[in-house]
Amino acid sequence: MTARIPEEYQVKIGLEIHVALATETKMFCSCSTAFGDPPNTNVCPVCLGVPGSLPVLNRRAVELGMICGLALDCEVNPQMHFERKNYHYPDLAKGYQISQLVAPLAEGGHFTFGVSESQERTVRIRRVHLEEDAGKLLHGHRQQTLVDFNRCGVPLAEIVTEPDLHSASETRAFLEELRALLRAVGASEVRMEEGELRCDTNVNVLDQSTDGPKDGTEITELKNLNSFRGVEHALLWEIKRHVEALQRGDTLTHETRHWDEDAGVTISARAKEEAHDYRYFPEPDLPAVSLDPGWVDRLGEEMSETPRQRRRRLQQQYGVDDYTAGVLVSEDDLGDFFEEAVSSGGDPGEVANWLMSEVQGYLNAEEIALHELSVTPQQLVAMLQLVDSGKISGKMAKELWPRMAETGKDPDQLAQEMGLQQISDEEQLQGVIRQVLQEHPDAVSDYLAGKDRVVGFLMGQVMQKTQGQATPQLANEKLREALTEAKEGKGEED
């Protein structure tokens, strides 16, 4: 589907991203924001827009909105107020949505993200404002349409970017890193499957070859994309449409289009939907809110590190390389696990290696998340210490790990139960070696005759006799000692 885009064409993409803020209660009432409850159970006169009811602003929603703004390097406005956005739809209880237009929560930020391992890009953030979510239409039996108002009034932050993105894949990378950022700072859980991040994209293509005023297509708005894959695919399709139009000299018309996931095409929305005049005006039921600098600063201090800051710190503090740091911050609990393990005595390199290979391998195979694992960071460190001290081998550790992950038992106990114990006792090993040499006089003769490679055979015999539990290095050393002795003994005989 990827269009071959001529050099002189520039794709411009801007986003309007709606994120559900991680509050316990709704934006203007004390109903729960829980997802998946039976329809119309988390409702009250306020979020149902019952006559006479009035909104009361949820302070936490303002704080989480500010955290969004701060994480995106925006300026928080000293005062914000709400507007009403008027339109009729059956899922909109009041006939208007409380939103912000003139004095939003925060403005003028930017966000830097990685487009590849070595390449970064910065997108300007125009504004972050607060608004309430609408309900949900359910299409029931006998062609009836029903409305579930549980979601009505859930607080949203709308993040608006400047048109600084230039491709579908770049847009996807931006969204993925934005999601990680919002989760890391605690503004939102960003559960995609619950629709906690929805994205409208604006796209057009400019021809930069002309000198005078730039030729280009009119902007298309793609509405309500709720998966990153959807965004990427819809954009690929749409960019192709714009490029082809431009090539045949068409500039298209400004319109709203919907992405049809199944057909894999975008479809023009009905003209009716475009003809919206939202008749914004100041919300008279809510006074302006002062966002006092002290409040903003306090939130800034309490705000967790952004993934980008953490990635830098992990490199500096623990000496891990950039790639490793990147993997560790890609999921915030992975970074937490790493840091806790290191702080309880683990070697940063070893811990990181284990997390990225064995641990993630296990999680992928079992299709579970890190937090579902019953192993603690301390237990992982204890296991690595068993390897370091030679009590078990690296190979044994790899055998031990899945059992630990399954049972949550301490590595020490589990190793004993599984009989994974290296024999590091010299006398015990010397006894085994003596036995092996007696059982294989031919091999010993071969060795004495100068055939060095029989050492490998004898070593194998030692390992077999110890059921693989002999510490290989020590066993090898002792075997060679014994053979040297035999050689010297023979020399004396000669």
């Binding site: 019952v50 006559p51 009403r84 008279p284 809510l286």
Partner: protein, 497 residues
């Protein structure tokens, strides 16, 4: 007491009767309902009357007997939510609608022991100045049955004037408490914006709406305010009034004086647009205040002439949004259609009356792209300038004295075909709503047997000052003691001209 008409008694009188154990609250309640059922047929002030007093949740325990409004019968305008009585806003749209909760003001009255007798008639969604825009009933002025009671709280004003209830609640967006109070010869007050919680008041224009009491004396008004003025967390525009609970004490003096008070009479309010008999009443009132010790001077507020235009733009804009929720989806009237857009259109076309539609259209227009700057924004700027001018006048004057309405009560049907003439009825009362300041209408005299009200306005939070002066005025004139003939004889006066 077979002839007991609790609604014709003052709050103080009812308290006295209860204290002396001459009546009990059950008797009061029963008699009040019976009296309303019998006499309201001629007035038409109620839309719903509680069938039986027994249905009301009453607590006759010790705490309630001491409650300040115990057993006092009251009427509630039908745009205040009551969980046990329909709340229709006098609109087909909400015919039979039963709210799931009590408005904060209603809850506070009930807690104070007041007896909610029923819901009073009004202009549909509080839009109008004669109560003729009610979808359900005609309310007559108790002083003259061919005259309107004023509006939009006309049912509340008529019920109080007719002695059916001791007091009633109305809502005042542009004068809807004060103007009918003036027409019906009772006291009506709009306190400082935010003093009484709007939670449960069905919104018309949120930034202007304020609940207010109507009663037969300033004293009763003050007692009701002591119950209602409280900060409410459910209303974000609710304020902590510095004088809360101290209103009745402001009017307790038996011979109050106003020595040293300065009262301004803005000339714009007594221009040719105001009927001469009404201007005459204002001049007389000025003399009364002088005799009470106040200095009364003419002053000028030139911007006031623009108040009506600014008001109608802002009120209609907010109304167009506030009334958007009546779409037939969740409550109220639904005209079925397979197509949801069509269902919206049909329901709203059928549910709303003409004046409501007119204002929704006007407001929608004023907020539309391309017109917003010229209409809504300009009106909002004008509103701020008018407020500034009004507030500035309180650096010089304690109070402003004006007529409440330019005319006495007009005839039923007289202005129904002339919306602009109807809007003029609010020209004197609108400025106080734009500025959010307190204002009161008290009976100031009579013209050809019809009451004429005077209006006093004060600075924000100076509600006590307003009550003090109004009380001094009513005690020295006694106009408030004059009642329409039928209110005493249980028969409607039909001497109208």
């Amino acid at each position: 007491m077979n002839d007991l008409k609790p609604g014709s008694l003052s709050i103080q009188k009812i308290q006295q009767l209860l204290r002396r154990r001459e009546v009990c609250t059950d008797e009061l309640r029963g008699a009040a309902v019976e009296d309303v059922s019998r006499r309201d047929q001629d007035v038409g002030s109620f839309l719903t009357v509680r069938g039986s007093y027994e249905g009301q949740s009453v607590n006759n325990g010790g705490t309630v007997s001491k409650a300040s409004l115990n057993g006092v019968p009251c009427g509630i305008k039908d745009n205040l939510c009551t969980s046990d009585l329909p709340t229709t806003c006098a609109s087909q749209m909400l015919s039979g609608y039963r709210p799931p909760y009590d408005a904060t003001a209603v809850k506070l009255l009930r807690r104070a022991g007041a007896h909610v007798v029923g819901k009073t008639n009004m202009d549909e969604f509080a839009m109008g100045s004669s109560t003729e825009n009610s979808a359900f009933a005609v309310t007559h002025n108790p002083w003259n049955s061919r005259r309107v009671p004023g509006g939009s709280s006309g049912g509340s004003a008529a019920a109080v004037a007719a002695g059916l209830v001791s007091f009633a609640l109305g809502s005042d967006t542009g004068g809807s408490v004060r103007q009918p109070a003036s027409f019906c010869g009772v006291v009506g007050m709009k306190p400082t914006y935010g003093s009484i919680s709007r939670y449960g008041l069905v919104a018309f224009a949120s930034s202007l709406d304020q609940i207010g009491p109507l009663a037969r004396s300033v004293d009763d008004c003050a007692r009701v305010l002591d119950v209602l003025v409280r900060h409410d967390e459910r209303d974000s525009t609710s304020v902590k009034h510095p004088e809360a609970g101290a209103f009745a004490s402001a009017v307790s003096e038996s011979e109050p004086r106003l020595n040293g008070w300065r009262i301004g009479v803005p000339r714009e309010f007594v221009s040719e647009g105001v009927d001469e008999p009404v201007r005459h009443v204002v001049r007389e009132a000025a003399d009364v205040f002088r005799q009470l010790g106040a200095q009364v001077q003419q002053c000028s507020l030139p911007l006031i002439n623009h108040a009506l235009s600014a008001y109608y733009i802002i009120a209609c804009s907010e109304a167009s949004s506030n009334l958007a929720r009546y779409d037939g989806v969740r409550y109220g009237l639904r005209a079925e259609s397979a197509d949801v857009q069509e269902m919206f259109i049909r329901s709203r076309s059928r549910g709303f009356g003409q004046e409501v539609k007119r204002r929704i259209m006007l407001g929608t227009f004023a907020l539309s792209a391309g017109y917003y700057e010229d209409y809504y924004l300009k009106a909002a700027r004008l509103r701020r300038m008018i407020s500034d001018q009004l507030n500035g006048s309180f650096e010089e004057y304690d109070l402003l004295l004006t007529p409440t309405t330019p005319t006495v009560a007009f005839r039923l049907q007289e202005r129904m075909d002339d919306p602009l003439a109807m809007y003029m009825a609010d020209v004197c009362t609108i400025p106080a709503n734009l500025a959010g300041i307190p204002a009161i209408s008290v009976p100031g005299g009579f013209h050809e047997g019809l009451p004429v009200g005077i209006q006093l306005m004060a600075d924000r939070f100076d509600d006590r000052k307003l009550l003090t002066a109004a009380r001094a005025f009513e005690l020295s004139t006694g106009h408030h003691r004059r009642r329409p003939s039928h209110a005493e004889e249980g028969e409607m006066g039909r001497c109208g001209r």
